[in-house]
Subunit: 137 residues, 2 copies
């Protein structure tokens, strides 16, 4: 599976790779303010969730659940946010991130709020490893 799949250049630039679940590539956004995952179904040419087969759609949402559970086990979470927007990057992707009261964008959405803040030395690899362990990757 995934033949012909190529990750969008902007998603590549904005994230660290975490690993591949059965359907989705899992990415960590390069923004230390949020433990922010992006799930990208490894199917070429997908834009809308509705472009996926019914089977893939069901798997996508199961993987969103898995990502949410993994995030809650490694990061504080007052409310999980899930979003499939794609107004700028059209390759189908789903955001999953825990929000904490008083975080930079709270209570508004994180998308388009303010420039990302880079992770410090070694911080992102530690979070990636913790997430891989939770996701069995």
């Amino acid at each position: 599976m995934g033949a012909g799949f190529e990750l969008d250049a902007r998603l590549t630039a904005d994230t660290f790779p975490v690993g591949d679940l059965p359907l989705c590539r899992v990415l960590l956004m390069r923004d230390r303010r949020y433990a922010w995952l992006v799930l990208v179904p490894r199917r070429p040419g997908m834009v809308e969730v509705a472009d996926l087969t019914a089977e893939d759609r069901a798997e996508l949402w199961r993987e969103v659940d898995r990502a949410g559970a993994a995030l809650r086990s490694v990061a504080p979470c007052d409310k999980l946010n899930i979003g499939a927007l794609g107004n700028i990057v059209r390759q189908l992707h789903v955001h999953v991130l825990p929000r904490v009261e008083g975080d930079a964008a709270w209570p508004g959405p994180v998308w388009g709020h303010s420039p990302a803040e880079a992770y410090g030395e070694g911080e992102a690899p530690r979070l990636v490893e913790a997430l891989k362990a939770q996701l069995c990757l």
Copy 2:
């Protein structure tokens, strides 16, 4: 089903009722700038998608698909946006709305962007009727 379910007061105030799918109450936001549906699972006490049973979760996303298809058939859509945030209203709800290039919040998210614009006389009932027909409600 739905015993003990009560719609959040803010969701009630901000929307027109469209009808009930098997799991979710379907609401139309009172903002004429977007054909903006909100789906609320009729289960008391739900906050996160993960609070639902696996069966209800699967049904929720199927109903999100149905809502998206209904919206595309009655309104222009360059990109469907789907969001489960709940940072302000904690009762579990999922936003589904078509976005159009150049709309008020484009390409940013609609949540928290700017005050709603009221529908004109008769506009909302016409859209509600069209959506009900598409959703077989």
